[in-house]
Symmetry: C2
Subunit: 359 residues, 2 copies
Amino acid sequence: MTDKIIIALDVMSGEQGPSACLDGANISLTRNNNLFFHLFGDQQIIENSLKPFPKLAANSEVHHTDFVVPMDMKPRQALRQGRKVSSMWQAINSVHEDVSGGAVSAGNTGALMAMATFCLRTLRRIDRTAIAAIWPTITGRTIVLDMGANLHVSSENLVDFGFMGAAMARVVFNIEKPRVGILNIGEEEIKGNEDLKAAAATLRDSDMPLEYIGFVEGDGISKGHADVVVTEGFAGNIALKTAEGTARQLATLLRDAFTSSWRAKLAYLLLAPALKTFRQKMDPNNSNGGVFLGLRGIVVKCHGSSDNLGFAHAIDLTAAMIKNNLVNEIRQDLDVFYKDEDTEATDISVQNTQNKDKA
Amino acid sequence: MTDKIIIALDVMSGEQGPSACLDGANISLTRNNNLFFHLFGDQQIIENSLKPFPKLAANSEVHHTDFVVPMDMKPRQALRQGRKVSSMWQAINSVHEDVSGGAVSAGNTGALMAMATFCLRTLRRIDRTAIAAIWPTITGRTIVLDMGANLHVSSENLVDFGFMGAAMARVVFNIEKPRVGILNIGEEEIKGNEDLKAAAATLRDSDMPLEYIGFVEGDGISKGHADVVVTEGFAGNIALKTAEGTARQLATLLRDAFTSSWRAKLAYLLLAPALKTFRQKMDPNNSNGGVFLGLRGIVVKCHGSSDNLGFAHAIDLTAAMIKNNLVNEIRQDLDVFYKDEDTEATDISVQNTQNKDKA
């Protein structure tokens, strides 16, 4: 069992019910042979839903829980009512107890963040966790964070986000020195507020395994200007939703075009194979999964409306991050970066003691 | 001449040169018979470029200026070097002197905003101007402001933006009570920071000619949830650029699909008429024009890369706002809304005086 990648699933989460989640786990299992799952939720429902997936049944263990956190429950209330008893909490706790390497849930984002932070706690020196999303771009993929865990953040938080995003890019994209940029309303160094400028200066001068490339504008994300784009949660969430909305708007207009005449319908038939690639590249399932960064464990949030393919993608992503030990990667980076500060602090306190001795 | 709509054009602005601007003015002239233009820039260049457009030549007057504000000049420097002598300044000043009803420029945005604010000044009670853009949506069009004139703003500024955007929607879309929303990371009332909540409460309780519909998420813009969406300039600019980037990304992928095989190429030929509608709806030229709101005059900024159709659209928009006297519409709204405050202030000062008398 030691070489297994073990994932905790909040099976009861998601709008499409347990089957979508289990089907997704089964798809992921056919792609990654060494997966093992801890399944949290109503035992009877899960065991029934497992019947079509004998391979998954053989590579998983069901853990009964009584409570499912509702999608509209406030985070604080979820912590009060759902702690210990909910499938969400138990999945996270399985990571906390080192039984699983990471947890996946399609449940209530606020509750998941609250429980994950409460149960796993943040890494040393991290005072703000972030939600990272993977965006499809013209040239490949880009990690954008924060997608809405925090409204506004300090320059130090932005710098931490840069390190965490770069670590994730190294692990998930297999890039040695990811290109990191800061989201701004212009590329020139004079643009943006003081926090952005201070974060830019720190990232530029840092000696970390990343290449700071400067400010990135909204359209720079889809152009693939950077492997990692860092921003506060307010602008990040609005950018994400706006991009989703624009993509949906174009898809609607395109569908109208394809059904507007018999010529257009014929064209659609001829174009079908080429459109398949187009659709795959734009499929939100292929970029499903908000990764919580800054915690002492891996937690991935699937979109609430995820289908089996959406779950499969999020599970693949979780498996990759467990396999390459993302949490340790981030921890080491923070240790290296903040080491100087620690040393300095120690030196000063030593000096102070010496001064005191003299006095 | 009294029924003429008179527009000042910064002919030297824009990356495509004077011809694109003049061609655009000529197109607009064929669509709106009662236009007259004041053309600012190098007299010889303009007169040469006017030759293909005899109708425009007959309905315009050329004003020679020596200086063109460079696209990369800092606003402060532009004000110092370009005041009085530049085509940009002269176009704005023509509005200030009531010779023209509005000015159009495709030049340096920062310089244009600085000059417009300096020359025209803001309306009484407005302490932040905003840039409004018209977005194509699934159902029609939405005005979004601010697109980047201010990074962060107060709740009072957001409320003013709501009034100004609603006035613009009444004038441009001909809607009696435009639906106004505030851009946020969730639709629930508890979402967002205190400024957003305070602005929401004021707009909800105000008795102005608008319907406040609550918070709108990033994807709510393209869904057409509101006629006007209000936001700070940082998030607004990032949303705009992200939408542009996503649209371009999809267009690139679609082009790849259409050229991937002979079947796809044949399909493209069959689809061409239907795609024309698609392209028109998504054409950035059809939503070209950033409208400066909050000034004592109408100034419209075209995209720097505008072609003739882009200029024509921005000029049409300017003409509609002049015809319906947008500035006065905004002024009246502000007077109505702030009237109570003024009355109260007067009452207090009267009371104070009385108290003083008693003392």
